[in-house]
Amino acid sequence: MNDSLRTSNLLTVNDLSPEEMEGIFRTADSFLDLSSRTVKKVPSLRGKTLVNLFYEPSTRTRTSFEIAAKRLSADVINISTSQSSVVKGESLLDTVLTIEALGADGVVIRHPSSGVPEWISKRVQCHVINAGDGLHEHPTQALLDLYTIQKRKGRLRGLTVAIVGDILHSRVARSNIMAMTRMGISVRLVGPPTLIPKYLGDWKVEVFHDLREGVRDCDVVMTLRLQLERATASFIPSLKEYAKLYGISPGVLTEARPDVLVLHPGPINRGIEIQDEESFRGHSGILDQVHFGVGIRMAVLYLLMAGGSKGE
């Protein structure tokens, strides 16, 4: 395959050109064929060590990276902060330098502070993959979202996507806004003014505060997880009112295109951002997102790490 990446780290979707994203999708296609076989492994990353360094709780992203790396035959170590020397007060940089000194070829990092993966990448030689940093970015999530849309819709260019909910605090939204606009998708942001950034700068997006208006004639509705503590910080008056104004229900979806696809990065607060999912299950791409996520992460790990070590 000649879909190599110019970057040796994946820190932001801005690291990737449209052609490189398409290359990642093609690579994911070939890896996903594997998962239908009885022996799901390939030896591409045999002998490489990948460390999953998670400073925030995560089930799907960490597991997805772990499965992806294991299918590529990499050795995977999972470190979560509750069981590491972080609780003994070790600094982030010391932890990462230690992991590198132990011989890791790549570090997948999730951290509550925005900018950490980029900052770390300037201080280590190994590959750094951003698995979500603060409010900043979650590039593999955006890639798997785009890939899911491509698989379900057969194309990306020309589609209209409504991203609904807490845009302000969402790294998933940030990565998707940038990746989608880059791939020729029209992006709408839908939510209360308190949860949409005031300064949208270069983003070519339309903002809606009315949900029905926002999803009207959309091809895809992507709803975001609402952190339950937003109500206590006065971003919204109550979860009940939020659910009423911004919850995705079968009624709301009648405004969208008949073949609308509904996405959610998970984990879902049922009854809040998504209501009566059973009744529009045929439109849901949520489990596809999880399934395709493994293929996307295999592709990313393979394209970053299979070619030898960074700088070679």
């Binding site: 925005s114 900018g115 700068g201 983003w203």
Partner: protein, 437 residues
Amino acid sequence: MSDLSHGHSFFLKDVRLVDPAHGLDERGNLHVEQGRIVSHGSILPPKTGQIPVFDGEGCIVTPGLVDVHAHFREPGFEYKETIETGSRSAVAGGFTSVCVMANTDPVNDHPGVTLDIIRKSQDIGLCRVFPIGAVSIGLKGETLTEMGALTQAGCVGFSDDGYPVKTSRLLRRALEYSAIFKRPIIDHCEDRDLSDGGVMNEGWVATELGLRGIPNASEEVIVARDLEVLKMTNGRLHVAHLSTAGGVRLVREAKKRHLNVTAETCPHYFALTDEAVRCHHADAKMNPPLRSEEDRLAIIEGLRDGTIDMIATDHAPHAPFEKEREFDQAPFGIIGLETALSLGLMLVQEGTLDMGTLLYLMSVRPAKVFGLPRGEICPGGLADLVVFEPDDVIEAGVPEFFSRSRNSPFRGKKLPGQVRMTFVGGRKVFDRREGKS
């Protein structure tokens, strides 16, 4: 300790003498005896006596710079800076008088702390150090400090800097009470509730970087509060580190209403915008934060029209291990004593300010507002002087700063202007050729 062998006398030849307070800008020589200027102009070295003769090599000599806002971190945070390293940084940057903020540990809310700072700085004998006392005990915003005792011990103003004066009521009392001693209340204007854990300017850069923003209104709301409270007292308000266009507008209007208010800004607010956060990480993190281009231009306009009275550094040293970490976890603040003059000279080079105005903003005006001693180039004038070459180019902080810390977004940058020598009371306290001592 001070070198008394020459009796603080010297002859400085071949300099450009600039003193904006006297409308002076001419070539000539300068003669200092016993820490005071005897004569200047086309004069010859005295024939009698054995005083040193320094060659100014055509540089500017001007009254030493005065900084009304620095953090020397001693007592309590000596790993960031000490009175000694802060003083070395000051004289290397051309400053001869520096006011130091009260947020030490223990807080300078007691005359014992004030006296200790003054005694240490005198023992070190580099720049003059003037403590700022806390407004409230422990900076907690509850109980007023004993401003009488603190003034007597040597405090030249009062501030809870790092925090705003917490409540309108406390501010009112502080302004009323400090009026007895004719000392200003210096306020760090920030509505911390509105800042809501923000770590940089609220704007497009913060949106893109996913960092929590501090809106301009955070500053403006408290500037407006302070001015309205000031109006009903006989006190004096000094607004620290103005960073927003709205803050400048409020102070400008207040001055038109003849309120007893003065204001400072810092070099980074006219030299940089929030774009700097992208490449300088936590070395571009301070509070108030770097703002937008519109704000930057408004700050410059404020300096030009006299709304902003002075340039202060807000020199805020932090150790590398504190700054080299997660952006949102790193402390606010950058060092500034060794780059302030250079950044001011950039405005002169651009033609935004003339040299006299810059030196007025960095020396004459701050000394006057805070009642501090300052150099004057006139017979009998105090020989607190700086000799600098505006056309030199320096690489800031290379190989290292004199400060104990290095948290500056200007580190490694080529900047105009180099301080060659600094004199305090006629005594040479810094000479670039002697390097780091």
